[in-house]
């Protein structure tokens, strides 16, 4: 039974949810993993974890999501947060300008500590609170384009775009990984004798050079 469980997915992707305190990270997570929203949610202490398994382009993907505390004092455990993370959901609160302004700080943090290939999606949460809106959707879109991120406005309360946000990020990750796998496969087959495929020298130049000099 335990073994079967183990093989019930094709891929395991670690995703981190980051953003200022109180933007709704934990509720986005509970909406995605349990389809729940807790009006009386508490602050996250340190790090919490949850998973959901879903289909991405015909493959079964298990998303292991790390929900982190928003207070920057907790950032000291970043190495553990970001180690092995292939995706990040960066959340701000559309009713609090400050949390949007801090997005750049969170991006810097990701660039400093996370893998350079990490896939990032930005989510402007609490889109149900239209009357309190302090950040326009255009502003969010513009920042996302400038920084090269995917972007969605979400509402964990009304279950709007939460699944879509995760689906987007998981699909992006899957595509990158399958492209890589394909490239690796091609590289592997191209080494077989008699195959006339072009070898991309720039990628492997370091290795080639080494072999060359030592010969």
């Amino acid at each position: 039974m335990a073994n079967r469980m183990d093989h019930e997915y094709d891929y395991l992707f670690k995703i981190v949810v980051i953003g200022d305190s109180g933007v709704g990270k934990s509720n986005i997570l509970s909406r995605f993993t349990r389809n729940e929203f807790c009006l009386e949610s508490k602050s996250t202490i340190g790090v919490e974890f949850a998973t959901r398994t879903l289909q991405v382009e015909g493959k079964t993907v298990k998303a292991q999501i790390w929900d982190t505390a928003g207070q920057e004092r907790y950032r000291a455990i970043t190495s553990a947060y970001y180690r092995g993370a292939v995706g990040a959901l960066l959340v701000y609160d559309i009713t609090k300008r400050q949390t949007f302004d801090n997005v750049l700080r969170w991006l810097r943090e990701l660039r400093d500590h996370a893998d350079s290939n990490i896939v990032i999606i930005m989510a402007g949460n609490k889109s149900d609170l239209k009357h309190l809106r302090a950040v326009s959707e255009q502003d969010g879109q513009a920042l996302a384009e400038k920084e090269g991120l995917s972007f969605l406005e979400t509402s964990a309360l009304e279950a709007v775009n939460v699944d879509k946000a995760f689906q987007t990020i998981l699909t992006d990750i899957y595509q990158i990984i399958s492209k890589k796998a394909l490239a690796a496969q091609e590289a592997a087959t191209s080494t077989a004798p008699g195959q006339g495929t072009t070898i991309n020298v720039s990628d492997t130049s370091a290795n080639v050079k080494k072999g060359c000099c030592s010969a």
């Binding site: 508490k42 202490i45 998973t51 292991q64 004092r73 907790y74």
Partner: protein, 333 residues
């Protein structure tokens, strides 16, 4: 964001299932005490999680100044956990101790956790940070707090507490029975010793042993079913309300003894010392004032608070309503 922003964010979401905090005056008290603390202890300020520690004091003590001093005393024990530097959070030293304890008493489990990328024991971060407040019901966690803190005062107190759980500490302290008087005389011993050895700043290791005992009780499931840290958290999460707090304490003490006999001082002189035995493990800086206060408050309002209850402490607590605490623990409908 400065700390008062977090403070404001957290005050409104601390124990907000309780009717008690529907009253803005009570929220304001929580805010006041935390703000004054942050102002007094500038190295710490406000760190998320502190509101969980403070909230019971606000509920138990009507007087704001009393609540402040109880919280301040509790923070003396816990503040190291909240200390953050550029590359670590204070509680990580306790997590390191936990890792060593588990490695010693249950190497297989430790290895399994390491394989799941859990070697840093971050899944236990919250338990140690807010001293089980999120894992146990309100009353269960208070029970653990009072026993933990009473044992700092006297390591032997747990057995006497266990023997007669209906006995209030006030009775224990002011009883005329010769045995108890003798005990009472001993209570200062540990404090004096700590002053002498300069052990005043150390963290309570009993909480670490408690986490270890919780892990131990879940050994089989963790080994069999945990395929990721999320599973670990889920399995540990199921302890909420299902774990007998007293049993957990017994286990914690057993592990404490076991570790001590196995490795002696190698775990760290702060935690264990072969020469002085287990006793030293639980010799911590004593604080008469807060201990007696919290102890007397809790026990007198909830005599023999029966533990091992479900998470919903509200309905079960109806029986204590006449004693003053019940109404304060009423859950919002």
């Amino acid at each position: 964001m400065t700390y008062d922003v977090y403070l404001g964010l957290d005050v409104v979401r601390t124990d907000r299932t309780l009717v008690f905090y529907e009253n803005e005056a009570n929220q304001a008290k929580l805010w006041d005490v935390l703000a004054v603390y942050a102002w007094m202890d500038k190295d710490i300020g406000y760190v998320q999680g502190m509101s969980d520690i403070c909230s019971p004091m606000i509920i138990l003590l009507e007087n704001e100044a009393d609540a402040y001093w109880c919280f301040e005393r509790a923070m003396r024990r816990l503040r190291d956990n909240f200390k953050c530097s550029a590359d670590s959070v204070g509680v990580q030293s306790q997590l390191g101790t936990l890792a060593q304890i588990v490695k010693t008493v249950d190497p297989k489990l430790h290895q399994h956790l390491e394989e799941l990328d859990g070697g840093e024991y971050l899944f236990a971060f919250r338990m140690l940070m807010v001293l089980f407040r999120r894992e146990f019901s309100f009353v269960d966690s208070l029970y653990l707090w009072e026993v933990m803190w009473a044992m700092e005062y006297n390591p032997n107190i747990y057995s006497s507490y266990d023997d007669k759980r209906q006995t209030l500490l006030s009775e224990l302290l002011y009883d005329d029975k010769p045995g108890d008087k003798h005990k009472l005389k001993e209570y200062g011993k540990f404090e004096r010793n700590n002053l002498k050895t300069g052990a005043a700043e150390q963290n309570s290791a009993l909480s670490v042993f408690l986490v270890a005992s919780v892990l131990e009780t879940k050994h089989r499931r963790l080994m069999k079913e945990a395929k990721g840290l999320d599973d670990v958290v889920q399995i540990l999460g199921e302890i909420s309300g299902n774990l007998d707090a007293r049993k957990a304490l017994d286990e914690a003490l057993k592990i404490g003894v076991g570790v001590e006999s196995l490795v002696g001082s190698s775990i760290g002189s702060q935690v264990l010392d072969r020469d002085q035995g287990l006793e030293l493990s639980f010799e911590y800086r004593v604080d008469l004032e807060s201990r007696v206060k919290s102890y007397v408050e809790v026990t007198s309002r909830v005599p023999g608070a029966v533990l091992n209850q479900d998470k919903e402490f509200g309905p079960r607590f109806s029986q204590y309503r006449g004693l003053g605490l019940g109404s304060r623990l009423k859950v919002r409908s």
